[in-house]
Symmetry: C2
Subunit: 258 residues, 2 copies
DNA sequence: AATGTTTTAATTGTTATATCATTATATGAA
DNA sequence: TTCATATAATGATATAACAATTAAAACATT
């Protein structure tokens, strides 16, 4: 669609009647709101061209600076994508579910949400995912799970390698759920709780984890959703027990993986 | 802390050796990255002053516009808060867990994630929350749940009112979990799936929901976490059955509440 | 005709300068 | 003390200019 459908020249009312705070009512923010509302109203599709800064400045009858402010905000929100050069400009961005994991991490950080709280959330996500995986898994999902298990089998004595394989197994399970909301959320949480310093698994822990993962695979393959959920609960609780060895409220040096 | 600890005048290297795309390497984005990294490195606390546009322009030896670009991005990310007037400027923002629900909604919208997928996620969140609520609920939580139940009792013949009370009950349960990650996520999802057009409950449905809610309250009060979880699962599945009457893949006019 | 190279135009990035609106604070009067 | 007013700090917006980059068009070569 073209901008003219939802926005006309001089469409902005500078002398708004309400006495809202300045910053919320700035011309730049009004432009942001218009685009945002148009998006949620279904007037925009991914790839739709908004125009160049110059175009938009003319359309809204404001300066380039103001348009830039609005575009910077829209860009950070992940709504528009900006390209430099001839034929460039702002257009409606593709959805990128990884995008909001940043926002999540930032707000968790600023709000002081604990690793303990996040871990509980992760349990909720993974258990539901395991359940759904038994219903929605594709042959490709199963194949990937098998491949990861095989690879992990050869890494039982390589703590770092096995840890990484274990993390990939968990991700593959969530992906097998076929639920993009769960997948995105899981990735975001992983980004928050597993910065890079996951504890390493020694041979004993690795062997145990491998057994559990294999059992999980079997259940997902068979389609036993209640059993898969219960096993995942137990598995994650045992991981938590190692990660938070005290009575559950103390933070250890970092959660182990797999 | 002061900016000098992590940033010095002329700290930006315009002639970076890597051939990254311009937009990612722009001076404004470099400033954003510096602030962001300083935040995650623990060099910033909520309320720390970054300075005014003029200050920052001098510190980084760039123009005000460039600083504005960076601040607009940081503001949209929820990292800084900007105040106009004497003594104003940019400072590290308080965490606001509602902030990321916007990001979530936008990316779900752009990615075409279905209501069905989101509902599954909501089930995962609420069930875990019900479980935790039995362990962590405070006397205040219980009191609020009782109040909502009483109020709902008088609204059995007021579909709109009962629906709202039901939604508040569900939120109160999640809040009783004491897990801020779950609470924030629940609010975000509610914002996505329940825009405003929730279906209304007739007397029969309302009476049934009220009974279930009362039973949930009893279990949360008693501390029976497994029972609470199971009841919540059943409750949400029945809601889903009404919201998605077909075989589960068809979207009805909107999910009912309570 | 196909392909590689150069030129050109469009577009964002950045700077500089000014003006206006808003806000907090200082100042002073009642 | 309390209230009103003046003042200074600050962001919001506008205008103009140049730099850096990119895509497309024009051109040359094979």
């Amino acid at each position: 669609m073209s901008m003219e459908n939802s926005m006309s020249k001089n469409a902005l009312n500078k002398s708004a009647s309400t006495w809202a705070p300045v910053r919320a009512n700035s011309v730049a923010n009004q432009i942001v709101e218009q685009v945002r509302e148009a998006l949620f109203a279904g007037n925009f599709q991914t790839g739709d061209m908004l125009g160049s800064e110059k175009d938009l400045a003319e359309q809204f009858d404001v300066s380039r600076i103001t348009v830039r402010d609005a575009l910077r905000t829209l860009e950070t929100m992940g709504i528009v994508e900006i390209k430099v050069g001839a034929g460039g400009g702002a257009r409606i961005a593709e959805g990128n579910l990884d995008h909001f994991s940043d926002a999540l991490a930032i707000q968790f950080k600023l709000s002081g949400v604990t690793e303990f709280e996040i871990l509980d959330m992760q349990v909720a996500i993974e258990c539901k995912a395991a359940e759904l995986a038994t219903l929605n898994r594709t042959p490709e999902n199963l194949e990937e799970l098998r491949e990861i298990l095989e690879e992990a089998e050869g890494l039982l004595d390589d703590p770092t390698g096995f840890t990484q394989a274990g993390q990939r197994f968990h991700l593959a399970v969530v992906e097998a759920s076929g639920n993009r909301a769960l997948i995105a959320q899981f990735k975001a949480l992983r980004h928050v709780v597993w910065p890079q310093n996951a504890r390493r698994a020694n041979r004993g822990i690795a062997e145990h984890a491998q057994k559990v993962h294999q059992k999980l695979y079997t259940m997902i393959d068979k389609g036993d959703h209640e059993a898969a959920r219960k096993l995942m609960v137990a598995h994650l609780e045992s991981i938590r027990a190692v990660a938070f060895p005290e009575n559950g409220k103390e933070v250890a040096s970092g959660p182990i993986c797999c």
